[in-house]
Amino acid sequence: MKNKKALEMNFALLFAIIAGAAILVLAIYGATKLGEMKRYQTDTEIAKEISVITDPMQAGFAEGSFGKIVFNQETEINNICFSSGFGKNEVSVSTYSRFGGQLSSGGATSIYNKYIFSPESQTAEQFYVFSKPFYLPYKISDLIFLTSKNYCFLHSPEEIEDEISGLRMPNVKTANCSSDSVRICFNSFGCDVNIFGTCMENCNSAYDEGYVEKGNERLYYSGSLLYGAIFSDPDVYECNVKRLLYRTAEIAKLYEQKADLMNARSCSTNLKADLILFRALAESSSSKELAQISQIAKQIEIKNRAELCRMW
């Protein structure tokens, strides 16, 4: 009898241990997975939100606009660029856990109609966004620049200093710079980023076209792409330039067709031949040909202004 009771006690104990352990393991596993899922959801939502909040950031007909994104903890924003066709920027976000360090990124948001210039990956609590329109010679798009570091423009030309101070970005300064700032020089060496202007004809400034040297890389720019070359990684920059040139060609095609419609109702234009050549050039070029494209674009713009029925 004594042995049987001992056996009964063992069954009850065994059941309690097995069931208790199973429930505990399941609960811990479930809670961990749920936490991960919630974090993934939040990170994915933030990436989508970045796409949404940059909509009003686009300059429209303004010369530029500025905004700030503030997180309540260290956040990593990744920007991967794909250049096939219209291409896209894939933005994803990883938040840093207060206990377990960084977790993997949330779902990426694909942005097809914007050109986001930034490092491939940057971590901060505050991010600064500003946008500038890009013309070649007609408007192509608003370029969006996403930065988190401090930048110091040393001895910058008046027109660039005016542009920067007009945006009132707290992380971009022309004087009283902090020691951790990325230093930017014009027509001289020795800074983290060195800018050289090469524009000789039809220019508002020598820096309308040129190149930016960062480390061993040389990035060619024209117009507001100057800021893209300064603020983004070379891979992201080259990819976005390729996307912009593709869109330039597509818009040229649109204007060619518009020329036909205008000619049909006697509002004639002589720009079609120029646009066909310009489209072919934009389709086959890379950033290295930007200065050449920009010069041709300026000549087309002069012709367009002389027309009675202007195309744009």
Partner: protein, 164 residues
């Protein structure tokens, strides 16, 4: 059946029941979470569509190039109805309606007496349209004088609504 065997059977059933209970609770919770995600997604899509309307109106593929906001070029709109931009657009559909003079029936352009242009349609179901008022303009030349002729229109962008 011996008492020990009965106890083992009881224990096995009990463990199964407890597991089943937790699986059911888990499934209910996951379903609740997914509903939350779907709602969040739908909410973000809606926000994006509304904010995209002004961006669309300012896009060089549609706007008047005159430096005016909410002005669409009728020639460009007509050309864009046959262009394959597809994924490029941040919305499910884009339509431009001519609302002046008021029409009882919508006729898709290009056609005689047409009054709306379909620039893009992803052919998704359950699409809700959000609109803003715009001017639809084109350049006209008459007696060596060039002027811009405009009429009132509506730019609509569609968003896929959550079916739940």
């Amino acid at each position: 059946m011996k008492s020990a065997q009965l106890k083992i059977q009881q224990m096995a059933f009990m463990i199964l029941a407890v597991l089943l209970f937790f699986v059911l609770v888990g499934l209910f919770f996951i379903n609740f979470q997914f509903k939350d995600i779907r709602q969040g997604f739908s909410e973000l899509q809606k926000k994006q569509t509304i904010s995209a309307l002004t961006v669309l109106a300012d896009m060089p593929e549609l706007n008047c190039d005159s430096g005016e906001s909410f002005c669409l070029d009728e020639d460009k709109i007509l050309i864009m109805t046959s262009n394959q931009y597809e994924k490029f657009w941040p919305v499910a559909s884009i339509k431009v309606y001519k609302i002046n003079p008021f029409a009882e029936k919508w006729v898709k352009c290009p056609a005689s007496g047409c009054n709306y242009y379909e620039i893009y349609n992803s052919n998704q179901k359950n699409v809700k349209e959000y609109s803003i008022y715009v001017s639809i303009c084109k350049k006209i030349k008459e007696f060596d004088y060039v002027y811009t002729k405009c009429q009132t229109g509506k730019l609509s962008a569609g968003v896929v609504e959550n079916e739940d």
